[in-house]
Amino acid sequence: MTQTEVQPTVSAHAHHAPPERKWWHYFTFNTDHKVIAIQYLVTSFIFYLIGGVMASAMRTELATPNSDFVSPETYNNLLTLHGTIMIFLWIIPAGAGLANFLIPLMIGARDMAFPKMNALAFWMIPPAGIMLALSLLVDAPQAGWTSYPPLSLMTGKVGEGIWIFSLLISGTSSILGALNFLVTLLKMRVPSMGLNSMPLFCWSMLATSALVLIGTPVLAGALILLAFDLLAGTAFFNPSGGGDPIVYQHMFWFYSHPAVYIMVLPLFGAISEILPVHARKPIFGYRAIAYSSLAIAFLGLIVWAHHMFTSGTPAWLRMFFMITTMVIAVPTGIKVFSWLGTLWGGKIALNSAMLFAVGFIAVFVIGGISGVMVAAVPFDIHVHDTYFIVAHLHYVLFGGSVFGIYAALYHWFPKMTGRMMNEPLGITHFILTFIGMNLTFMPMHVLGLQGMNRRVALYDPQFTTLNQVCTVGAYLLAISTVPFLFNAIWSWSKGRKAGDNPWKALTFEWLTTSPPAIENFEVLPVLTWGPYDYGVEHLSEGEEPPLTSPELQPNTSVAS
């Protein structure tokens, strides 16, 4: 947050005209980080729609206790694909898309450190996703997104094999992406930008990249062993051959718990950007937010076994993981507190971006509270594998990540496309999403406490009413994407011109044109004030900052 010297010289170089961006570039192996970002975002949104159709089908089936819409096997397929697609092909790549667009712009770089590898990472997503989605036509996996053995070894080799290889590909993509983010963030900032003057989105991506690089390879290791069990007949995780399925669970959750933070940390960063801009106030607690991202990343690596409280984990180990899990609420709470502190007394503009950002905080906190509840071993044993967990994880991943992605899209759409989004449509989108989301997932808390099992197509008729409420909510959520899609497509071609800096924001990405030219900046920017100095008086040289109360001012005696 330091101010550096202003260097008022203007580059004397005559600039060669940069090559034009053509629409078909978006369909090619292009190395421009902004093209790759749009590729990521559009592709992942398509997978979001596919996953959403699957969710709607599941909710339709669950409208009645009997099996009347799809067969229980198909339900298992849908359940597995819905979870896997939403996590590995929607939220994680969407976060990578935002990071791709924002990191180089925010730190004043012309591109990522390794542009070709960046493009390669993106182009792994479509084959992995298409393979997984099309498996529904052949023999889809049906062991859930966790794919615990021995169940996953007994439900069909083709589907499970596709699942494993799809995840290995998307995992590799995510490792290569994170490698790029980390090197870019550490090595390519403009000279005037120290780590402690980076925008908070960059901090959160630093933490996210570290988690991806540490966690994802371990998942790859587990998947390789699982593939051997499935295809070569070894018995690493198969108890009937002397193997140990618990080892799979440990390896799986060593990645998949941090994956929760991989999915939500980028959006924590995005929210930290959006709030100060639309509240016209400096961010409250810059360093607290920055360092709490690192704390979350570190703690996120030592909480994984809380997913395994009912897997025969010894009591002392459960105690350890219970405590670490509860402790991770502290850095998260610091962030929420800082966001509220930022909003407090601000001149808040309740536009679509801000509505989603504030909605994010509200809904995420509910997911956080239920998270602390399930961290407690006795409570978790009671609700394990019930709809309470489904409610909790959707409050975190839908209320957190998806709200965050929407907030980010509304906020940066003008920069990405050069045009404003339509506000009334955006507000409609938010209202529908907010109501639909709570209608779908809030009753699931009750269902879970009453003992309704997750992952099963059939249920006891006593749960019917609440399930029908959930189904109505799910339809509302499905409808809510219509105004967004219409808005995005219409605004992209016909929206009002945005100009360079429609929000009057201070971070570097708003200094360049919208959409940014191919090499981002004509001349590289120099940091002259912190990224969130909204409404902060900048004192001219030699001027002393005012002291807190008049009687403490130097040279003024109260007695005289």
Binding site: P8, L179, P217, M251, A349
Partner: protein, 206 residues
Amino acid sequence: MQGSTVDSTKTALNYHAEMTVDHHEEHPDHRIFGVIVFLLAESMIFLGLFSAYLTFRAVYPEWPPAGTPERELLLPGINTIILISSSFVIHQADTAIKKNDVKGLQTWFVATAIMGIVFLAGQLYEYHHLEFGLKTNLYASTFYVLTGFHGLHVFFGLVLILAVLWRSFKPKHYSNEEHFGVEAAELYWHFVDVVWIILFILLYLL
């Protein structure tokens, strides 16, 4: 715009004068840093597999499980010595190219490649003569998958070395200033070597 209050004192205009740095700045080389980060991530796969192995071992009452045939230590021992020495050999190549000695680079890379090939051949020979197969028991499975996965890495390292060797015959491709490929191949080779030392201790000695 869209309801955001404009902070009139600082608009984008203020920035204009401050966007200064020359457009044609040199792009510094971050590739070695990238390779190191990649290898750290890669080592996490092995760490995960080692942890799985150690857990299996801890859970089993007897390890290797009863009935596992005895393992021969002579051949893998020789193999280990060859692989460890190759790390010193490939470092000579790095020293050579830093003195702009392309001939030296080629000589030492050929030597490293031969040592790598001997290692892989030795491992294949061992596979053929072991008295247990992939599915004999849990020890056998972990043995084959871990050494095989490592062997795959040796193979990739060999491909890297041969690619660098191929390129070194192009005139002026590597010099004392520009030899990223040499350094990357060397780092990768050291990594493969360190992984083998841990694997050898875990699978053969413990």
